[in-house]
């Protein structure tokens, strides 16, 4: 039998061939939801699985947060976890999973579904690589959590020379999680560059896609450094007696990832989501689109934090780059606010309130507050030399001809006040408050994306009321948990917490913070309930006046396809001329009913 003769296979089913966008997708296996999911190369399935995995890990992460805060209520002892080491394990697991198992994968999942749709592509560039990244992330994530559970984790055990296998497994599995996220970032960046529609230069891409390009680029530049930290740790731990990396302050070696400015890199898509929901709310193009793109790019640059490894250089957080970079973080956020204000003014009317618009604004509020806290943490490093310099100049002029003067008295007192108030807050729970808010901002952006694109992701619109309630609860809970931590930081509560001599009021603040964490959990539970609620209780989809393809009235390419989109996404390739093609007078959908060929 030659190669040209094919054996008939009775197990396959009929297939539909879409000539332009989707070839015959041959299915070897019978229809089964698990088999389809595990073997799928469709970016929508892959993206949904990322989202599902992140939500499941998210439940665990938020419970861990609550447990850690329960422990922090009593600062005199370690009652719940029975030992400081166990508390350290839970604290580090919460931080690590919040970033790498919850917020970042959630944003990646939404990007995997939406980026090809926004650029008019039928698929990702490397669909199987994206699937491999997903499954490797899931397996490595489970192994990571299990390794922590069997007494591993990134903690130092007093008197232990040989690093346990569980700890080594924690290092390796975290490295594998990071590598999976890097592969996913690579796939997203390549897709954005190579699969765009005709006429869509990078100047014309939707702002969410642009923010994903920036975010994935910054992750690609910074997370390999984390991978190198983990590899050095592990190689050292393999020795009979770990020397300097394998068994010494493990979490401290990678703490830079969970501190400013790097933590803001995980919130870059907040600005991109705003760029999507604001124009739709005001029913017009975003004013200052180019400025918004530049702002997102700058935010990405300022959030690169792989250089700020205080484990190797304790002075890193006092360098000008760190201080000025932390200050400048807030500038792009203000530029986005400016774009929103200009758009509102140009629209001349109130925005159409919707769950996604409200959620993206709440994300912005959380991000702004986090940015403010980041500025507060470096105020001493910024103001002390500036005030000293000013006072020096004043003193020079005061004492000219007869030696230096003493400067202005009020300036000297102000300098002293700044030093007393802000000098020691850097490593306190102000840091934890900032991290919490920055990551909750990322979570809110993800939830905003959920509600905005729910028809594309889930095939049904999610209830608006539930979305608003979930957003308010999440933001309220985040503020309730973070702001007391910030105040406690000024009362010298260390970021790590645990057992320490607390000043008056700290324990009461920790109780409020614990309540806030519970509220965050409740808000997240509302988000999880949104999809079954839409399925069982119905949604706005039932309204016949709503266009199934474009229920929110969006202006970008994803709103041209069905909800949910079929394999191949579109009826054919499109030609675009601006960032909001559905608003262009000269845009014609060649596949619409009645359109000329």
């Amino acid at each position: 039998m030659t190669l040209t003769e094919i054996e008939p296979d009775a197990s396959s089913t009929s297939v539909v061939v879409h000539e332009a966008m989707a070839p015959a997708v041959y299915k070897r296996l019978p229809n089964h939801i698990l088999a389809d999911a595990a073997s799928s190369g469709d970016h929508k399935v892959i993206g949904r699985l990322w989202i599902l995995g992140s939500l499941l890990f998210g439940l665990f992460t938020l419970v861990a947060d609550i447990l850690v805060r329960v422990e922090r209520v009593d600062t005199d002892s370690v009652a719940l976890f029975t030992s400081v080491t166990t508390y350290e394990q839970w604290f580090s697991l919460h931080r690590v999973s919040l970033v790498f198992l919850f917020v970042v994968p959630l944003l990646i999942g939404i990007a995997m579904v939406m980026v090809p749709l926004q650029i008019g592509a039928p698929s990702l560039s490397f669909p199987r690589a994206a699937a491999a990244a997903l499954w490797s992330w899931a397996v490595a994530g489970v192994i990571m959590v299990v390794s922590w559970a069997i007494d591993g984790g990134l903690v130092v055990r007093p008197g232990e020379d040989v690093v346990s296998q569980a700890t080594q497994l924690s290092m390796l599995s975290l490295a594998a999680v990071v590598l999976s996220i890097l592969v996913a970032s690579m796939v997203l960046i390549t897709t954005i560059f190579t699969e765009r529609s005709q006429g869509m230069s990078l100047y014309n891409v939707p702002l969410f896609t642009w923010s994903i390009l920036v975010a994935a680029g910054v992750w690609l530049l910074s997370l390999p450094v984390l991978f190198s930290n983990l590899m050095v740790m592990w190689i050292d731990a393999r020795g009979d007696a770990a020397q300097n990396f394998g068994n010494a302050r493990l979490y401290d070696q990678i703490e830079w990832v969970f501190d400013q400015p790097q933590v803001f890199a995980f919130a870059i898509p907040v600005l991109g989501l705003l760029g999507e929901t604001v124009p739709v709310a005001f029913r017009r193009r975003l004013k200052g689109y180019d400025s918004a793109m530049i702002a997102i790019g700058l935010f990405g640059a300022y959030s690169f934090g792989a250089y700020a490894q205080t484990y190797f250089n304790p002075n890193a957080n006092t360098t000008w780059l760190y201080v000025v970079g932390s200050l400048l973080l807030i500038v792009p956020i203000l530029v986005m606010l400016g774009s929103i204000a200009l758009t509102a003014k140009a629209a001349g009317r109130a925005p159409a309130m919707s769950a996604h618009f409200a959620l993206s604004l709440m994300a912005l509020v959380a991000l702004l507050t986090a940015g403010a806290l980041a500025t507060v943490r470096v105020l001493d490093s910024l103001l002390a030399p500036v005030l000293g310099f000013l006072n020096g100049i004043v003193g020079f002029f005061q004492g000219s001809g007869s030696g230096s003067g003493d400067g202005w008295d009020w300036l000297t007192r102000f300098e002293g006040w700044v030093d007393d108030t802000f000098d020691e807050i850097f490593a306190t729970s102000v840091a934890g408050a900032m991290v919490q808010l920055a990551l909750i901002a990322g979570l809110l952006a993800g939830v905003a994306g959920f509600f905005y694109w729910s028809s594309k992701i889930f095939g049904r619109r999610l209830p608006t009321g539930l979305g608003m309630l979930a957003g308010l609860t999440l933001l309220g809970g985040a503020m309730l948990s973070a702001l007391p931590d910030a105040i406690s930081g000024f009362l010298d509560q260390p970021d790590f917490g645990g057992e320490f001599a607390a000043r008056d009021g700290v324990q009461a603040l920790n109780v409020i913070s614990l309540i806030g964490a519970g509220v965050v959990f409740a808000g997240f539970a509302l988000v999880l309930l949104a999809v079954p609620a839409a399925v069982f209780l119905g949604s706005d989809d039932d309204d016949e006046d709503i266009d199934n393809r474009n229920p929110v009235g969006g202006f970008t390419l994803e709103w041209l396809t069905e909800s949910p989109p079929p394999v191949g996404n579109f009826d054919g390739p499109y030609v675009v001329t601006s960032e909001a093609p559905l608003l262009d007078d000269d845009f014609q959908n060649p596949y619409a009913e009645g359109a000329s060929a």
Partner: protein, 221 residues
């Protein structure tokens, strides 16, 4: 939505010669993807080099302080280790030569010269294997132990950096194998220039990183 429905039996009985032309992916996709992966590796090594230089500087500062107080300073790389320049220098020159053969492979692919393309890739793989062999020899020659009692972390870092570089060489050789497979399996190598060009990009980055390793670890010690 336009489309035609076929039954699977019709499709299964189709003949390859009558099959529709294959879908040709857009050019540049693989090359951009490889550039990004190369960038990841470069940043990974950047982190390693930063750790190495920082740890070395900190060690020397401490030892200089001890020496100033009249104590005995311990060198960063323990005196018991044998850091010879021969093997690393030979490796550097081998890798530099491999750049020539790599470009020869790209040139051959572009000219649809399958024979010379495969020859170049084979020579390339040989150079890669030779370098890996030299690294293993070097590890035996160095005599470093990770849990050195002096407290210096030179061994850990040198092993991490050199082992990572070996992993990079292996990955580069896998890319060469993919390129060779494409050359063997296709009728015209000109259609697969992107694969060999991607492999070349990665290879050149690997060589550049080894140059930094050579200077950082073996020349400046």
């Amino acid at each position: 939505m336009s489309g035609t429905t076929f039954s699977s039996t019709d499709l299964a009985h189709a003949v390859v010669s009558e099959a529709p032309a294959p879908f040709v992916p857009r050019k540049r996709t693989l090359q951009i993807g490889t550039a990004l992966v190369t960038g990841m590796w470069v940043m990974y090594f950047g982190g390693l080099f930063g750790t190495y230089v920082s740890s070395r500087n900190a060690w020397r500062d401490v030892q200089d302080g001890l020496a100033a107080e009249g104590g005995s300073a311990i060198s960063w790389i323990p005196d018991s280790a044998q850091v010879e320049l021969t093997a690393p220098t030979v490796m550097t020159w081998t890798l530099l030569m491999s750049c020539v053969t790599m470009q020869w492979a790209v040139y051959s692919f572009k000219r649809s010269d399958r024979r010379h393309g495969l020859l170049a890739l084979g020579t390339q793989a040989m150079f890669g294997a030779a370098v890996i062999n030299q690294v293993v020899f070097q590890w035996n020659q160095l005599g470093l132990v990770i849990d050195d009692t002096s407290g210096s972390s030179a061994a850990t870092l040198i092993y991490t950096i050199t082992a990572s570089h070996v992993a990079m060489i292996i990955m580069a050789m896998v890319l060469l194998a993919f390129a060779a497979f494409r050359a063997l399996a296709s009728s015209d190598t000109k259609d697969h220039v992107d694969v060999v060009a991607s492999a070349a990009t990665f290879w050149y980055a690997m060589v550049g990183l080894y140059f930094v390793i050579w200077i950082l670890i073996f020349i400046t010690k």
